[in-house]
Symmetry: C2
Subunit: 171 residues, 2 copies
Amino acid sequence: MTEPPDRAPSPHPGPQGAQVAFLLSQLGEHASQAFARRVAELDLTPAQAGLLRAVSLAPGQHQQELARRLGMSPSRFVAFIDAIEERGLVERRRNPKDRRFQDLYLAPKGEEAMRGLAEAALAHEEALCTGLDPQERIALAGLLRRIAEAQQLTAGVHPGYRRLNPRRDSV
Amino acid sequence: MTEPPDRAPSPHPGPQGAQVAFLLSQLGEHASQAFARRVAELDLTPAQAGLLRAVSLAPGQHQQELARRLGMSPSRFVAFIDAIEERGLVERRRNPKDRRFQDLYLAPKGEEAMRGLAEAALAHEEALCTGLDPQERIALAGLLRRIAEAQQLTAGVHPGYRRLNPRRDSV
DNA sequence: TATTGTTATACTCTATAACTATA
DNA sequence: TATAGTTATAGAGTATAACAATA
């Protein structure tokens, strides 16, 4: 019986008008935590999942390029990749044209992990949208995309990566 | 020139179907960061803002009660309150009926801070919803609330409090 | 000299376990 | 004995700066 932290107050002291901002913040955190729990079943952290996807989309990028995209410092990135490489998910290869670069490629086990991640993402989406019919889901996605555009968020860019270890949360 | 981390990959490897979950996670993080920047102008962290609101809504709660609601351990809560009390925002008072309890009350400066926070929350909501007309905002809030209910999230409960120091982010 | 990757160092944040004072 | 608050200690996470290899 892990007693859920009941009635935690909001960081947003919005009385009546402020609703969307708080709901977005609340649901976003909830969605992130739920996704973290899902990838944890694959023995992955969200950051690791993000790296695998980045390497999968564009194989052969070198480390600092990827580090910048994930928003982490090159020095942290080393240990981060060390763990992933030891598990046989990605492979470091010295770039023959310029031996200073370590290019990253997906290993067979990494391809397998990607399939698991795709499955997890679909299940995650479905679980989160429970209660909304297909039309409502499309309408919601449209409104959210409008906000994302107005806020000038790059499509597919998630700002919450720096954190390597997801928070375990009783909720 | 702080170069924004361009094209960071998503932690959610959703190809086509998975949209709402990622957008919620992305926008939620964005909203949280934007709010953190706003309260930072008042020299407050989101957690401090949350505490002030909690004390404002229910004055006289004792520390462990509030610590549990904010999702932090009693030991961390001590230093957390120390800083807030030193700034004259809240006041600790020994409960005369049971002197083990330290009850928390809003100090005059805390009331003043609450007014600033209310203003900040309204401006935050407005900035975030730029581009949506009033009808769309209501529709969006409705859909988000439906999801929150389906996910059994308590209204007004934000899970992202444990973190005391908000991430400063270039984005 | 400049840059990539790496390592080393110090610093912050957090969790856990003692300790005290009240009951 | 049990509980609220506090303090102390150790551990994890992070940032920054140095370093070696390559260009």
